[in-house]
Every structure is written in structure tokens, then in C-alpha cells.
Amino acid sequence: MAVSSSPPPGTPLDTAQGGQSVQSGFESVYRRYRSRAFHSACALVGDREEAMELVHEAFLRAYQASDRFDPRREFYPWFHRILRNLCLNRLRSRKRNPVKESLDRREEQGPSIPSRDLGPLLAADLEERGRRVWQAIMSLSMEDREIIMLREFHGLRYRAISDSTGCPVGTVMSRLHAARKRLRAALEKRGISL
């Protein structure tokens, strides 16, 4: 799995030189985590432009709340809770039909899948397959998408996912298991058998 320019999962907050606070290291924190945040927001709201806005707002709020952040903890799970709440608020405020139209929007506006230097036929196959996998993911509920994103794409450990979502570790495991079952069904519906 390749998620461009993201630090290894579980990396503690970079507090810059000499143990400075989040404010002074804010720019480096922003640059380290913005891609991961953007990808998460895309998965949650299914719209790249809205994802950019939400990431902007989430970093702003993280900056404003930075005095409440414990630098001994991992940054991303704490930040993800802020981002998650903003995404939930955005989903709630959408005036259009939240089931059908958002599903169409989600499936259309996934991540751009870049072409690869693998020869035209294989690249096209992989790209098409990747699109179908992404469409299957985006057909899931928000909770399922979120936990699949955190585990399969961001590689977070269960403890970190628990911190990100506010669920106990045991619940993370059972939700992930259920999400994987539903994802498998969605993949098979799209012609990808496992």
C-alpha cells in the first residue's frame, strides 16, 4: 500500500527541536500529516474539494486546541478525532439525499489512481481493478470506510484506531472484522472474487 508522503504509522508527534510545543512545530506537523488527513477526509465525505476544506478546518482547530494535546501521545489519532467530527458535521449538513446521491458522489470522487509504468495493458487492468476496489470501499457505511481506511491504508495499530474513534480495542477488532466481511461482499458484487 502506498500513501504518498505519510510518516510511518504510530510515529509520535514531532515536537521540533528541543521539545518545543505544537505551535512552534505546527508547520512540520502540518506537512507530515496533511496527505494522510486528506485521504481520510476523502474516504469519509467522498468529495476532494470538501476534503481539502475539512482538512484546513481540522488543522486550524488542532492548532487552537494544541494546549490540550499531550505531546507524549501520538498526534494522528488525536487529530483524526477532530477531523472525524468535522466530517460527521459536514455529512449531517448535506441537504441532498444522503443515501443515493452521496453514494454516486463517493464512487465518482475517490482518490485519483495514477497510471503506473507497467506497460499499457497491465497498468490499465490494475487501474481498473483499483477503481473497482475503491468503489467497493466507498459503497460501505461511513463507519466501515473509516475503519478500513485507518487499518488498511494508514496502517494504524488497533490501539491507535481506538484512540482515533473513541471505541475500545475489542470493539475495533469486531468492527474491523465486520467491515472486512461487508467489503468482501461488495468486492464480489463488483466482480472481484477473493
Partner: protein, 151 residues
């Protein structure tokens, strides 16, 4: 013959097993079960296949110029924090001065009734807005599709 644990008691542990998140004891329980249970072994294979499928997806970041615009806006916004504090302090002071001036004017009967009327209109508007927003929020809460999602 080894007693095989029922699949139902171990199914939820399969994900933990695939992700390397189980304790030694649970890992061994699952491993022994998989040695005997073909159905659960297939589930584990399917979960590993999902990992391989998702590994093919490579996210493409927004172009650098979009990130530059994004970060510029963000750092400008964080710099506005001090400005907001000054604005709020100034606003509170202003309201206190206006309130004391209003009080002085109300005591002076000639101008008092006009000021009292203006104050009543402002109060009525504020209460109306509050009621409108509250009823909208209550309605949204009743029809909220995501109310069961834990924050």
C-alpha cells in the same frame, strides 16, 4: 482427538490474527483452530487478499500549488487568533459602554422610551433567532442518520 473450538467463539479474533494484534494465548488458539477448520482458514485467506487488493490503490495527492494555497490560508488563519482576542475584548468593552449610556438615557425620560423600544426590538429579534435555531437543531437531531455514531 483435539477439541476444536467453535468458529463463532473465534471468528472475531480472525481479524486480530491477520493484523498481528492478538496476545500469545489468543494467537495460539486461532492457529490451532485454523489447522482444523477449513472454513475459517478460507476467511483468513480472504482477509489477506483484501489487504493485497487495497495495497494496489495508490492515492494521488493534490498538486503542490493547491497545497501551497491551502497552507497559506491555514497559516494566515492561525495568525488571526490574536486579532480575534483583541476584537472580542474591544467588543465587550463597547457593549458595557453602550449599556451604561442606554441606562443613563432611560433615566432621562424624554429619550428613554425610544431607547427602550429599540432595546425591546433587539431583544425580540434575539429571542426569535434563538427559538428558530433551537427548533432547527431539535428537528435535525430527530432525523439525524448519524446519531448512533460515537464521537
Amino acid at each position: 482427538m483435539i477439541d476444536v473450538e467453535p468458529c463463532e467463539s473465534l471468528e472475531v479474533l480472525l481479524s486480530g490474527f491477520v493484523d498481528g494484534e492478538l496476545s500469545g494465548v489468543d494467537r495460539e488458539r486461532v492457529r490451532q483452530h485454523l489447522d482444523e477448520c477449513h472454513r475459517c482458514a478460507l476467511k483468513v485467506i480472504a482477509m489477506n487478499e483484501i489487504k493485497r487488493e487495497t495495497a494496489h490503490i495508490q492515492f494521488q495527492d493534490p498538486p503542490p500549488e493547491q497545497w501551497n494555497e491551502h497552507s497559506k490560508g491555514l497559516f494566515e488563519a492561525t495568525g488571526r487568533g490574536v486579532a480575534w482576542i483583541l476584537y472580542l475584548v474591544g467588543g465587550v468593552l463597547y457593549l458595557v459602554l453602550v449599556a451604561s449610556a442606554l441606562w443613563g438615557a432611560i433615566v432621562d425620560r424624554e429619550a428613554g422610551w425610544k431607547l427602550a423600544l429599540a432595546g425591546l426590538l433587539i431583544l425580540a429579534g434575539t429571542v426569535s433567532l434563538f427559538v428558530a435555531v433551537l427548533s432547527q437543531r431539535l428537528k435535525a437531531r430527530r432525523t439525524d442518520r448519524y446519531r448512533d455514531i460515537v464521537r
